[in-house]
């Protein structure tokens, strides 16, 4: 009990300093440093002073709470009828804590931007990027080798049995912009591809929740028959750049992380109504067609505000639109395998407390009658 109180107090302090740090660092960095870590080793800016912070992280506090709850219930397990409500309540809390851990580990949010008539079988992350190497010379299918942004460190060399070459990271810029260099020359970012006419300007990481970083990297493909030189990859360079390694044709690009699906979503029609004379959205809806080659399924669905499509373990919400192209719909795609755990936990806690109350009420009434 004492440990639980200490943990809850620490959690409150963590939420408080995490909220303060969010102003300076942004929500994504704070989530990672403060709540998705065992130990917080960071700093906090207060009135232009930087204060070092070393504190138990969200994972550590949550795990101690979870284990303390679990161990204390097992050690003091006593299946008396009058304790059944308390046991159910504690079990509900366990479900809540485990469920939050599962959500943290497996929950993903992405978006799917569709133009009327377009079909896609993938959605893209809001804030995560990947270095995508795609072998396109196979006539049957493309092979995608996705290197997460977290592995793109300056000087690192990435090897994988599925790629017949190594990828050396010469430079990595977590946030950047790129500029044209008139006529190319020595100041350009790379010696091959689009980067021969561009240069990279490093920028500090974004701290606002509605902004995203635009990473860039300068990489080299090392291997027999690989082109000699460096490539600039950037979120600004939309089209993948092609190169040959022996008889194989590959493309390289730095792009938002993609989540591929075994089915296609086609946007048939997008309706977007605004309040007259303004840009304020009044109502918007997307008529989409699901085509699943595995099941032979092909059906139309209307997605509109508060009426999402639930399919293949994912939920498609009408997320946004393109104010400059009325044919474009942006769907928010949420995958959350543990979505039910908070509901189950709340039901269990509510049920446990109700049972506990009724039992104690019965005991109280009986005692009163005896008097």
């Amino acid at each position: 009990m004492r440990l639980t109180v200490v943990c809850l107090a620490l959690a409150m302090i963590l939420v408080f300093i995490g909220t303060l740090a969010q102003v300076d660092k942004g929500i994504f960095i704070v989530q990672k440093e403060f709540f998705q870590s065992f130990i917080v080793i960071s700093d906090l800016r207060v009135f232009n002073y930087r204060i070092p912070v070393i504190f138990p992280g969200g994972y550590l506090i949550g795990l101690v709470l979870l284990l303390n709850l679990f161990v204390s219930n097992v050690m003091r397990f006593d299946l008396q009828p009058k304790r059944i409500g308390l046991l159910i309540t504690h079990f509900g809390l366990l479900v809540l804590l485990v469920g939050q851990l599962l959500i943290d580990q497996f929950h993903t949010e992405s978006n799917m931007r569709l133009v009327e008539g377009q079909s896609l079988n993938y959605s893209e992350s809001y804030n995560r990027c990947e270095l995508a190497l795609v072998k396109i010379s196979d006539p049957q299918a493309d092979t995608v080798v996705s290197i997460p942004e977290s592995l793109l460190e300056k000087g690192s060399v990435i090897r994988n049995p599925h790629i017949p070459f190594q990828v050396k990271i010469h430079e990595y810029f977590p946030n950047s912009r790129i500029e044209n260099v008139s006529g190319g020359g020595e100041n350009t970012a790379s010696t091959l591809g689009a980067g021969r006419q561009l240069r990279v300007i490093p920028l500090p990481p974004e701290t606002k929740s509605d902004s995203r970083n635009a990473p860039s990297a300068i990489v080299e493909i090392i291997g027999d028959n690989a082109p000699s030189g460096t490539w600039l990859v950037s979120l600004f360079i939309e089209q993948p750049q092609e190169f040959n390694v022996g008889n194989e044709k590959w493309t390289i690009s730095l792009r938002p992380e993609r989540y591929y699906k075994p089915y296609f979503i086609t946007l048939i029609d997008f309706k977007h109504e605004k309040y007259p004379g303004t840009d304020i959205p009044k109502n918007f809806s997307s008529r989409v067609k699901i085509t699943n080659p595995q099941t032979g399924e092909e059906r139309e669905v209307l997605i509109y505000m508060n009426n999402p499509l639930r399919y293949g373990g994912e939920t498609y919400y009408q997320g946004s639109f393109d104010p400059n192209d009325d044919r474009v719909s942006i769907l928010q795609v949420v995958r959350n395998p543990a979505w039910a755990t908070p509901y189950i936990a709340c039901i269990l806690v509510g049920l446990g407390m109700t049972i506990h109350f009724i039992i104690n009420l019965g005991i109280f009434v009986n005692e009163q009658r005896k008097k």
Binding site: L67, E179, G183, A194
Partner: protein
């Protein structure tokens, strides 16, 4: 029992702590060209012509529908760029003034007729004494052709030696050039969104905007949002302001409704047309007259907030340049915003 629980606890900690992202490999169906219906306002151009061996074609970027690196014999490089500008209202003299401006007062200039494809255009030759570290090339040859309501610019630039060497090849290229309009999405050439363009794939607006935005250096670019694809942050001391640039079709919903929407954002009451007329000032830009409004109110947190907005109808669109923020930053950057709009190349 206690030991078993401790072991389980330890394993749980290790299992989460050791989680590390890894390289993923998977196969996907062949990606074909996206099946997108034609867009009525975004034509794509295919430009071909006879090029010598020392011209290397580069991917098209933004407004540059074709571009080449020209390699000189001494190792220096120049470039050839082809840019179409549809529906542009600026006169030929205004456009020439932009080229001249780059060279300052020492500009040397000549012009002559030149055959561009099957049509007759004009070729201008600008040169000047540029410092070595200048971004402005020593010499520019610009060929201009107005055809089917599109202003075409063909530019050869570089140092004097490269331009002199490439001059005849450039004329041959102009003589042989073919300008073909293709349906959107059919171009096989890689496209780059360079220089201060957003990484956002959620809008087509960026591709339709001028690529080389001459934003002041103290404007910090922010990642775009669906509603505002071009966003910049400006600061002055401890105060900050946000600049957004938006282009909407037609009149963008009308002047007065937009002004009143902005006023509503800083808790000011709507005004009528007569009041608005008293509060606007007008500025001249390369695309025509723009109106400037300047309001002070408060934001949702009741902090003093000021909006400086510039609305510019240009062609079939209306541009909205809006700076919102604390008074210090807005005051410090208002002149910069106005100068930026006036120098904006539409």
């Amino acid at each position: 029992m206690r030991n078993i629980l401790l072991i389980i606890s330890g394993l749980a900690v290790i299992a989460i702590g050791c989680k590390r992202e890894e390289v993923k490999v998977y196969q996907i169906p062949k990606e074909s060209a996206p099946q997108v219906m034609p867009h009525q306002t975004a034509p794509e151009w295919k430009v071909t012509g006879v090029t010598p061996a020392n011209w290397e074609q580069m991917p098209s970027t933004g407004m540059r529908v074709a571009q080449y690196i020209v390699k000189g014999k001494d190792g220096s490089q120049g470039e050839v760029v082809v840019m179409p500008m549809a529906g542009m209202k600026a006169s030929k003299e205004e456009i020439l003034a932009i080229w001249r401006q780059q060279f300052g007062q020492n500009v040397k200039e000549s012009s002559r007729k030149v055959k561009i494809g099957g049509d007759e255009g004009e070729l201008y030759d600008f040169s000047g004494n540029q410092p070595k570290d200048s971004n402005i090339p020593e010499r520019i040859l610009v060929a201009m052709l107005f055809k089917d309501n599109v202003n075409w610019f063909f530019r050869l630039s570089g140092n004097n030696t490269v331009v002199e060497e490439a001059q005849n090849d450039f004329i041959n290229y102009l003589n042989s050039v073919k300008l073909e309009q293709s349906a959107p999405g059919q171009s096989s050439e890689p496209k780059v969104n360079p220089h201060q363009m957003q990484p956002e794939r959620n809008t087509t607006q960026a591709e339709q905007m001028p690529v080389e935005l001459p934003v002041p250096e103290n404007w910090k670019q922010l990642a775009p949002t669906p509603m505002a694809p071009l966003r910049y942050e400006v600061t002055s001391g401890n105060s900050t302001a946000l600049i957004t640039i938006t282009r909407l079709d037609g009149d963008g919903g009308g002047l007065l409704p937009n002004i009143n929407r902005w006023r509503g954002q800083i808790k000011l009451a709507p005004i009528n047309q007569a009041d608005l007329d008293k509060q606007i000032t007008k500025i001249k830009t390369t695309a025509g007259e723009a109106i400037v409004v300047d309001f002070s109110g408060s934001n949702a947190s009741n902090e003093p907030t000021r909006i400086v907005g510039i609305i510019l109808p240009a062609g079939n669109h209306t541009w909205f340049f809006k700076m919102t923020g604390q008074d210090g930053a807005v005051n410090a950057h208002k002149d910069g915003l106005i100068k930026f709009v006036q120098s904006f190349k539409f």
